[in-house]
């Protein structure tokens, strides 16, 4: 049964290919095929999961090799897949949330004439993402890694008639390439050091490798993870990626693809366990990103960009947890799953709001939508409660555990994570107030309305999961479930009891909520974004995404442009100049030689005489001398 795992990938892949090659007549039912493929994968995923649970705890890792992919000398790569506790959870998340988003897209993309193609790309994404999480070899993982990058590129730029969308797609692709260099180098290094890139073999060999090797491997993998998961310093593409259709933002840029970096770190746990430096780097990246994302989320008026900032921040939490080693891996995955639920829920909710507001994304034009969109409000509200960490909703359990683990590592890391929780509460409350509460600030010709049922049912499903996702932690289930994959963690006793810490976290969250309410209920919200010079430095920096784009521009883009110009100049003046210069000189010489060719017989005769005279004179000179 478990050998059927390849079908999980094959179904959406076949469906995606079918939708791309089938002609126009499939426009009427193409979206149904796409959704059915994703649902079929989900059903199979559930069946496999149940089967896996029936196995003994020690043999829940099922490897299967389809064929030999590359066999050149000592370089040998199998097209192998591994279905174990970790990938099983990911399969359920990807296909489950994916299917709900497919359903939602039927309604959201109903008026788009390229809907069939959209579903083909979504299927392609699901197939690639499943390849990524099921891969039994880093090279196969890389295949999925690039596949999701491609799907992300195609879907961000889906409305390619908008120049901003096309540019955002290109930006995402290019920034991801930077991370991919890290991935590629890591795989090469694995091969050079261990002679294989099979995940199990590398994980087995890592503890015995030297510090230099594990540290460089860890840092290279982290670079790859930063690109894919929009972590500082490769974070700049995620906010622009919101140009894509909202279901894409929900599926790819919130719930699944951007968490691939976290998956990579957890999957490569043996490498990170062996290198203290790499682990510290992961913690720093996670901490910086979680604060930077939260900061950006506070300042954006574009509802999708505010949520994207929040996504960055939450993935920062996961990274941070993953950097804590065995103590954090399970919690990283746990937060990843609950985040997949509530963030997909909120993105789809935002899409539902945009659907009713004529695709306006500016929260300054919303307000008072709770009565017009009761279902969206209720589901979004559950997602809100989950993300800020109100007990007993999903986010409370996962975030609480991460902060607790962070305090176990280091006081300052714990404080940073705690601060992030407060800021999260602040910006999410701000978003709620500006969108659903407060007075209405709609444009005149906008008539907000609840979305059709095909869109609200997925919202309800995801909201329910956001509410009860915490059950995964019941009796430390997820920790024990993942233990064979990520290793056992010794339990650190904190200086204060866990319950006190939980109370402190909840208090900080409450402070964030109260601050936002005080700030945004004090006076009516302006209908337009205030000018840059009328807001605080703090808000201004957040609005400009902490000047990340400007930094990239100054550090990378402009020097590269100058270098390119220099090269173009050198090519034009130097190399081309040499070649054309030689040709020109030859031409000039020819012109000179052409002069005597007058066409007059007499002048030719004269030259002949002159020549003969010279020859004769020379002969005479030689003879007489």
């Amino acid at each position: 049964m478990l050998d059927l795992q390849w079908l999980l990938i094959a179904i959406p892949l076949a469906s995606g290919a079918l939708l791309l090659v089938w002609g126009k007549e499939s426009d009427r039912f193409g979206h149904l095929i796409g959704t059915a493929a994703s649902a079929a994968s989900f059903v199979l995923g559930v069946v496999l999961f149940v089967t896996l649970m029936g196995e003994g705890a020690d043999d829940r890792s099922h490897a299967v090799s389809l064929f030999t992919w590359i066999d050149a000398g000592t370089f040998h790569v199998e097209m192998s897949f591994v279905y174990d506790q970790l990938s099983a959870l990911f399969v359920l998340l990807i296909t489950g949330v994916g299917t709900l988003i497919h359903v939602y897209s039927i309604g959201y993309m109903a008026h788009d004439e390229r809907r069939r193609r959209f579903f083909a790309f979504l299927n392609l994404f699901v197939a690639a993402m499943l390849t990524l999480v099921l891969a039994g070899d880093y090279l196969v993982l890389f295949l999925g890694w690039e596949g999701v990058g491609l799907a992300s590129y195609l879907l961000i730029g889906f409305w390619q008639h908008k120049p901003s969308a096309a540019a955002a797609a290109k930006k995402a692709f290019v920034v991801n390439r930077v991370g991919d260099i890290g991935m590629a180098l890591a795989i090469m290094l694995m091969f050079a050091q261990f002679g294989t890139s099979a995940i199990a073999a590398v994980n087995a060999a890592a503890p015995g490798a030297t510090d230099t090797v594990t540290t460089s491997l860890g840092l290279l993998l982290l670079l790859g993870a930063c690109g894919k998961s929009a972590q500082v310093p490769l974070q700049s593409w995620l906010l622009d990626a919101m140009e894509g259709p909202t279901p894409v933002s929900a599926l790819i840029h919130a719930a699944t693809m951007v968490t691939a970096g976290v998956y990579l770190v957890v999957r490569s746990n043996a490498i990170f366990d062996a290198s203290e430096v790499a682990r510290t780097a992961v913690i720093i990246v996670g901490l910086v990103t979680l604060l930077a994302g939260a900061w950006i989320g506070c300042a954006k008026d574009d509802i999708k960009k505010a949520l994207a900032g929040s996504t960055m921040s939450q993935i920062g939490y996961m990274m941070l947890a993953a950097g804590l080693g065995p103590a954090g891996y399970a919690f990283a995955v746990f937060h990843l799953i609950t985040h997949g639920f509530f963030k997909a829920n909120m993105f789809l909710g935002a899409g539902s709001v945009m659907h009713g507001m004529d695709d306006d994304v500016d929260m300054r034009h919303y307000g008072g939508l709770r009565t017009m969109m009761p279902v969206t409000f209720a589901t979004f509200g559950l997602g809100y409660l989950a993300i800020i960490g109100v007990p007993p909703f999903a986010g409370f359990w996962s975030k609480d555990k991460i902060i607790e683990a962070a305090f176990g590592q280091n006081l300052w890391v714990g404080l940073g994570a705690l601060l992030g929780a407060g800021v999260t509460a602040f910006y999410m409350t701000r978003l709620m107030i500006m969108t659903f509460l407060s007075e209405k600030r709609w444009r005149e010709d906008v008539h907000p309305h609840e979305s059709p049922r095909v869109m609200t049912w997925p919202l309800i499903g995801l909201a329910a999961l956001s509410a009860v996702g915490g059950v995964l932690l019941l009796g430390d289930w997820i920790v024990e479930w993942l233990e064979p994959v990520v290793g056992h963690a010794e339990h650190h006793e904190l200086a204060v009891p866990a319950i006190v810490l939980t109370l402190i976290i909840t208090a900080v969250v409450a402070v964030g909520v109260v601050a936002a309410v005080a700030f945004y209920r004090r006076e009516p919200i302006a209908g337009e974004t205030p000018a840059d010079d009328s807001v605080s430095l703090f808000a201004r920096a957040g609005r400009h995404e902490l000047y990340g784009n400007e930094l990239n521009d100054a550090l990378v883009v402009r020097p590269t442009t100058h270098l390119t110009r220099l090269l173009v100049w050198f090519d034009g003046k130097g190399i081309d100049g040499f070649v054309t210069g030689t040709a020109d000189r030859l031409g000039d010489t020819s012109q000179l030689l052409r002069k005597p060719q007058t066409g007059y017989v007499r002048s030719y005769a004269l030259m002949m005489f002159a020549g003969v005279a010279i020859v004769v004179l020379c002969l005479l000179a030689v003879t007489l001398a």
Binding site: Q597, T598, G599, Y600, V601, R602, A605, L606, F609
Partner: protein, 97 residues
Amino acid sequence: MSEYITLSMILFTIGAVGVLVRRNAIIVFMCVELMLNATNLAFVSFSRQHGNLDGQLAAFFVMVVAAAEVVIGLAIIISIYRTRRTTSVDDASLLKS
């Protein structure tokens, strides 16, 4: 003996100058003949001076070749005249762009 050689040189020079300065193809042709005959004269003179027949033999060769050359040369001149209505050598410069 040197008188013959001097005459030969004068004749050759006249012929050469004629070839270089005249435009009428017939005249140029005649000048070429003049140069050939000046050479023949020189050959014969040297032959006499050295007392062997090599020079005279060469003169005969020159005459034979000259006869052939005259036939071809005149044929070219006549065909140019037929097509272009001129015997000026300067007009036959069509190969120059």
